[in-house]
Symmetry: D2
């Protein structure tokens, strides 16, 4: 059977033959990739693409950052621990030390770090379990268009109907309420407060209110600081913990390390994943305030909790980018550039408008078909970019935060040209 | 705050200060580890321990296997993709090719591979969702002492009360039945068949029956081939899929690549994780028969599904150990050695008896206190070893499958001496 | 033990000794009642009270209506069937015939009648099960302050937190949304439509939307015809059945037989109970459109479904009150009188305002303490009256629909005097 | 539409036209019944049938018992309360007094009486909620072939797959275990104890263990006193309440008032319904030990809790039949007669055997088709009799306990002749 198989270098038949139908990104981006560095991915055929997807914000520092790469090679060469369960390792200690020194302490956060199975969903599951254990309640309030993962507990909190449908059974334990600015004229926080305050409002007293400050998968819906603060106060008033899911919006994506900085809130629990390792390696964790750190040993466990290779790169990421304010300043400049260029895009399309915050931005172009056509055309032009939103109607820019300005500009040039072409074609077709 | 902190090399204060109370193995094995190779782990203080835990069967090929290590360093050095979502990469293609050629094809398995979030629990969740989607049913039959993970869907199938308690709410969708040989004189398969056949048996028609052929966390309970076959037939007769969770028992642990080989069964779904990457890197997947490969694109998704670094080492593992029958022959010999030495251990303790199968063996010493004392003493003697079972009453040997015979013997010497010491002490104390 | 017990005629000690703490109405209305007729209840001590509670709308035709009473005595005297499971009886046939002739046919309703266990909750459970079976979906949309019973399925749909708390576990299968006019400026129907239309709105496609057109326990919140119609259209658009729970608001309480008449909607399912028997005897049923009549024989069952004595009185009630339009005309007049008198009450109290519709009216006096005090004082004056609402803040008038005008006036005189006294006392106390 | 309708007296068209498909008994017993007294039911056409069904044990004292009938007519004639919510009435006081004096006190039971909605399912729901509130746990252990009703909470505890299917969604909160004598050689109590004692047995610590001592719908499976006692001890040992559902087996059906008398157990909660009213009128209640009487006022409520007419007849039933030991003696004699005659039946059919206990007896004839044919033939001969069991394979005798011996014999003559005819036919057909 194996004899006449083509070499993998040029053939993708093995994927259709042996990989499950659940595969997805590779359908729209069919290139066979071989290597990548910084913000550029290279195909086995030598092609190059600028990466405005960044592993869905898992590669905030780009591909194969040279310092992380060097540190990781050194670690492996020296027979550094690859897998150590949750044993003490010098590598984990160094990461925790760096995280305490450069992230937690300067922000006045007394949180502890719980390493969970290395997926965002697992961190969310752990956070929900902690909130339930702490409060003795079961209900978690979550929001329209929120996305928190697809395992049964996390899925209950996820709004997306397609993913919920995959459960094959009812999910439970979550009450859904409108997000900030969800319906015209609706004060979502006030409605939530009223329903929770009402003895017959029919919402069980919640263990937690869980939200993303910017909903990534949901369409780059950015909550206002006022809304986040109002929700934090509602949580407090009703005896619920506040879970801010910073899996996609954290690690600098909104311009600060945490997406909720400068909002005047202190979340009880912060699930993190994606760019925590800095290198795209699986790592997830929950920040938990000491008074809520109630799990017994391994009460929530998992073989791969704490990925040692990821600790190596995560430590470098923290030390390199977050030990002073230089990176934040750089991010502010890039965020401005992104806003300028996306405004150009939005101006091309009647009814289109900007979404998101910081470097987690996009344009709602009004429909999934148009957004998809623009992304497809951009890909042909050498740019990897994806859509998000409940109708896939948002062209989403998640470029590595480290993308050099000129490359960023080049990427936007491709994107704007793609949009122009698609619009021209549409007009021609009418 | 950071000023007077000790260097991480010698201080573990950072763990108590900033790591969650959920940490567990590090409590019984408090060494600060710095490196490891083969079956030996080295502390920051220069100490060495033989590893009979192997990352709970995640390091079946030992630490830092030189061939995997070389391939991984080469991959990183060449800016190979670190994180590629579920895009096509040459690395993934090469792994799939090797897995098809050396594992699936020779065993007549037409399964496809679904890469899930890189945790065993995530693979289990995906398998349960697939079974529910395929059958339109919700109920999953699982067994006493089964362990399948701690996210809400997987946790429902896990027997362990401590972990279930962590949910903070009722889990659902699972019916628990006795495992093989659970109660004296009980024919567990016949009882299951009767309850499912009984119109008023009160068990909803199941989407799947899910089992481990050897229950690792549950105490190394090995199902007989007859039981596994009977369960497979019951599943078929009642329109349920058969899920064989090979997360801990797979990848050679029982002496063959899959734990169910030579049992005459063909599972519909096989969740895998732990040693799939071969190097301890997070990777998980579900083998799914083509007719059950019903998920739409990303219907079950996750950022880290498909860990590219893990594909590098996983491919090497497959090619190095499973391209011919040499390794299997070696495993048979080592299994015999393990059985001999554990029989010695069992003979020391009245009422103790062997558990498990292949290289997934242990001794039920009658109580958790004694088992714990033996493991603790063994650790002092230079051996990392853990307990399992509902009362932690089983001294469990999960040495790397590649452990050289002399090192294996040395490990057992330490273990037997430890047992002798503990027993002598106990007698002295009476 | 039984020797020296006082006769039950004058002693209520047996209740504290042997009746459960769950008893409730008897705490605020401690009279030991012996008999009743029309709108007057008589105590064992000879006292008389006008009844503005009417068994919570279970006695719409008053106590011991002479025609029903005569028919029932005749039935019993002639050894008419008392209990006949769901066998065919002449009594049931006569009821169904009358119900078809005078209720269903004139209103163009093709519904069938499903007799459930004789409680409103049981009818609601049956309706929810039918909707789930018809649609293959599980989710039921229910509203803030809705009340549908306290068995586990029905309770999930009930908003009241006190009752929900009694479950001792999570209820499931229901999504709660704001009722008409729930929050200032909120278009509740539009919000529901948006959340259901949104692919990521996070509300599972519903099997049914269930509502009361006037929420009795919830505080006499009357939905506008526009809202009911909008909800009916939303249900249709999203493939959900429309369940209008007419248990409390039906049987003439709002001025028509059904509360939803003249609103331009045709519900798929109508749970009924309370005044269906006309005499206060337990009887409940679900009206179900033929295409949704999908239960197999006894798939939903219950020993007491179809209470034969209740059929006797229910038939008389239909024939006596609903065979022509005279009763409806009478109800319109009484509704006007009630509105006038309750307006007087509302005018006495700053901020107080009218609630409800038809003969299901009340006044929100702003707080439960005041409402309770008024009711207590009215009881002392010879009037049985209760509160409702999430804070028990609504003084609720549910007088028998047959109460003669002069008695109705006398009742209101007592009520208004009671309010005056309480207010005067409050002022004096300041 | 109504014009040309036949009179209900001779026409059953109204049932097919307007009654739901959920109707059941009337399909096998299509007579249109008009009246009944004692153990005889009379059709509108003048036909007479002996009643061996007794409203599924709801008419233990027969139809229209003259003393209850007289009392009820007197009550109604005197404008006695028909419906009084849960207010104090002289009627309720008299019932409670009688129940205390003649039932509770002589048996040393300190239980209080909680009147629930007048269905068995409602009493079961209340008992389950109490157990959950008392223990703070959610899981209820129930048994194969148990039947406890079809509302969502009760249904979770019911084994019957047909009824469970009617839920349209997953039920929850119940763990199913094998009943006494369920599988050959299985010690069901020991298995339950082992699974509950096992830390990884996968059964959540239960709030209650709920069982019928004789499973009526499940096929007249009678638990041994040893089993009931063992289960009671297991419940105690594991901190669970013991719920003995005496809805069908209580009120004298097994020869004593309660089915668990003389077994040496004291249940915490006893749901009762069916024959409590003595007259077939809807009434249900839960006996609850004072220390578990934890519901707040109306925390579990329902409009029809406490059916006043039913209190009238229930009091007479208690006083007439249970104030001395005469009735019990009579029951013992009749039970012997029933056993003798059913043994004759069993002896006719190879493999057939007796089921049940006391006056709740039947014969398992091996299959539902044969049992159905016998019952059908018996009906033609003038006997109303039904099947039960998971395959409807049990011919079930639930004659009124008051059936005179000669009528009982006449009924058995019809039954045995019917069996003879069916068997002869079957042989002829071969």
């Amino acid at each position: 059977m194996a004899k006449d198989m083509a070499t993998p270098d040029t053939d993708t038949g093995i994927f259709t033959r042996r990989e499950s139908e659940a595969r997805s990104y590779c359908r729209g981006i069919p290139t066979l990739f071989a290597s990548a560095s910084g913000s550029v991915m290279r195909g086995a055929d030598g092609s190059e693409h600028i990466d405005f997807l960044a592993g869905c914000s898992s590669l905030n520092y780009g591909h194969n950052d040279p310092d992380m790469k060097a540190a990781l090679i050194e670690h492996i060469s020296g027979d550094g621990i690859a897998h150590g369960l949750d044993l003490h390792t010098t590598t984990k200690a160094a990461f925790l030390q760096a995280f305490e020194t450069h992230i937690l302490a300067p922000r006045g956060m007394d949180h502890r770090v719980m390493f969970t199975g290395p997926t965002g969903a697992n961190a969310v599951e752990a956070a929900m379990k902690i909130a339930r254990k702490v409060t003795g309640r079961t209900n978690i309030v979550a929001f329209t268009n929120g996305f928190h993962g697809v395992t049964m507990g996390a899925l209950a909190a996820t709004g997306n109907g397609y993913h919920r449908g995959g459960a094959g059974m009812e999910t439970q334990g979550v009450t859904r309420v409108p997000f900030d600015d969800y319906a015209k004229g609706l004060d979502s926080a006030a409605l939530l407060d009223q329903m929770l305050s009402d003895n017959s409002g029919g919402i069980d007293a919640p263990a937690a209110i869980m939200m993303e400050t910017v909903q990534g998968e949901g369409g780059l819906n950015a909550a206002s600081a006022e809304f986040v603060k109002a929700v934090a106060e509602i949580a407090k008033r009703h005896g619920a913990l506040l879970i801010l899911d910073d899996i996609q919006a954290g690690c600098g994506r909104t311009g600060k390390f945490f997406s909720f900085e400068e909002m005047g809130v202190m979340p009880d629990l912060v699930p993190m994943a994606k760019s925590v390792s800095g290198f795209g390696l699986p790592l997830a964790m929950v920040l938990v305030r000491p008074q809520h750190d109630v799990f017994g040993p391994a009460e929530h466990n998992g073989t791969f909790r704490g990925n040692t290779h990821a600790f190596v790169t995560a430590r470098v990421a923290i030390e390199k980018f977050w030990s002073d304010s230089a990176f934040e300043a750089e991010l502010a400049e890039k965020a401005a550039l992104i806003e300028t260029r996306l405004t150009e895009l939005a101006d091309m399309i009647p009814g289109a408008y900007l979404k998101g915050r910081g470097l987690m931005r996009g344009v709602d172009v009004g429909g999934g078909e148009l957004a998809g056509a623009i992304c497809k055309r951009a890909f042909q032009g050498g740019l990897i970019i994806e859509t998000s939103g409940n109708e896939d109607q948002v062209v989403k820019v998640l470029a590595p935060l480290t993308t050099p300005t000129d490359l960023l500009s080049r990427g936007f040039d491709i994107l704007l040209n793609a949009a122009r072409d698609v619009i021209a074609q549409d007009i021609a077709a009418e």
